[in-house]
Amino acid sequence: MNAVVVATKAKRPFDVARIRADFPILARTVYDKPLVFLDSAASAQKPRAVIDVLSRTYENEYANIHRGVYYLSQKTTDAFEAARETARRLLNAREAKEIVFVRGGTEAINLVAQSWGFANLKAGDEVVLTELEHHSNIVPWQLLRDRTGIVIRAIPVDETGTLDMDAYAKLLNPRTKLVAVTHCSNVTGTVPPIKEIARMAHAQGALVLVDGCQSAPRLAIDVQDLDCDFYVVTGHKLYGPSGTGFLYGKAELLDAMPPYQGGGGMIRRVSFERTEYAEVPHRFEAGTPNIAGTIGLAAAMDYVMDLGLDAIERHEAKVLDYAHKRLSEINSVRIVGTAKDKASILSFNIGEVHPHDVGTILDREGVAVRVGHHCAQPLMDKLGLVATVRASFGVYNTMEDVDALCAAVQKVQRFFG
């Protein structure tokens, strides 16, 4: 057991000006206006440390990993496996072998659904989701339902975007085998009480999968303390390269799971009669992975751990509070999602103006936001919305960014007022 959560201890002071200087793209302009990047929830920008590691790897220390008998292959393998240890530290997992590298959050959830789900679930078994989920934590379970006849249920949210925990308690029953829940809604920013959700699920004998794609860049995470069974992280929202990510699974669960994809790297011995599979985690890593990308992801994880996840959480909470306050002062703005526990994602609408028009006008002001249904159509339906404007904040965002957003929003109001 690792009693100490190293991931949250900052190694450098949280100085936004210095942090901004770490991200080369923030120096550029858009339509001759400074870039105000408020779309980190879709994909975060990359610090120099990550960009440099990618170049350094390709320029100086790249070869295919595992089984190579030569120097470069060994060095690259070492760097790749060191990334596994970095991921373990980020989540405070017990062992590095509990980290399985994948292409992103979507692949991690599909892996659990197709491997653990198909091996363990049968017709009539229930998987509990929430109305907050991204399509990537809905569709993999529907694909599994089509193959097995499982039943999918969803914990409802109220109009603030808060999960109805009483309804959750009532949904749980002996047929419940898995609860799959986001750790931070990509639309409303809601942070559900994961520890409580896991405790209640375990009391029914169900496992818990947590979609941490939005929380990993924003919150200090300790999978042992949360006591979740699976935790999903994508790399590109965590300031790392796209096409990277990992699945955390408790060792005893991963050990018992059949392979997800078949191919090279996941075997011990192959003949045409039978194949012996490799140990965890390699059993789940068929084919050549995103080698440099994963090494780059480790640099991104080191970057956020050096800043300290607690410090990041505090900084983004301040920016979020300020944005809430400033936007609420604009009379045509209606904020979507006002749960008590929220991370730095803020959805809103401006009167009757369609979010796509808002997005276009903001863009001309250099303000990059996301508009649309955010791949969460069941949540949109529940909230009675077609789309929202979403501003999301990262380590590099400032109060000035919020001011620029509000000025641009006022321009929308004037345009369509």
Binding site: Y31, V353, H354, P355, H356, D357, T360, I361, R364, V371, G372, H373, M380, V386, A387, F415, F416
Partner: protein, 148 residues
């Protein structure tokens, strides 16, 4: 401001706020539903074609200013036109928005206000959705009577 005004011309903002010919008629002869799954815009076009001419046209829908204004201005543009003329207007409209025509054809008349959309490639579909839906509505009947 001038940049955005190229896209959101007064006429477009006006039609998006107060769409003309909006609503479902008492009796529907031909209709079609259009949907842009990317942004969730929906539009339904209702048509009455008499003697080869668009006698009645209206629409319902939800969407951005560009799609709603395009639908509204479309209904004004095709009313009392022959089916062939309506299709020709769409052809010119499409050519203008995709940059194949540098200048608006005279046949476009008021629809020339959408010229600025071509500088916003992701928004072209917003403007053309009502037109594709109109064509589908025309064909919903045309197929049945195509043997004439």
């Amino acid at each position: 401001m001038s940049d955005l005004r190229d896209l959101y011309q007064e006429v477009i903002v006006d039609h998006s706020k107060r769409p003309r010919n909006f609503g479902k008629p008492a009796s529907v002869h031909q209709h079609a539903d259009g949907h842009n799954p990317l942004c969730g815009d929906t539009v339904t076009v209702y048509l009455t074609v008499e003697g080869g001419k668009v006698a009645e046209v209206s629409f319902e829908g939800r969407g951005c200013a560009i799609s709603m204004a395009s639908a509204s201005l479309m209904t004004e543009a095709v009313k009392d036109k022959t089916v062939a003329e309506a299709r020709a207007i769409f052809e010119h409209f499409h050519r203008l928005l995709t940059g194949k025509d540098e200048f608006p054809d005279d046949a476009l008349d008021k629809l020339a206000v959408f010229e600025g959309v071509r500088d916003y490639p992701v928004r072209v579909k917003c403007a053309t959705l009502p037109w594709h839906t109109l064509v589908a509505a025309l064909e919903s009947r045309a197929e049945a009577v195509s043997t004439e």
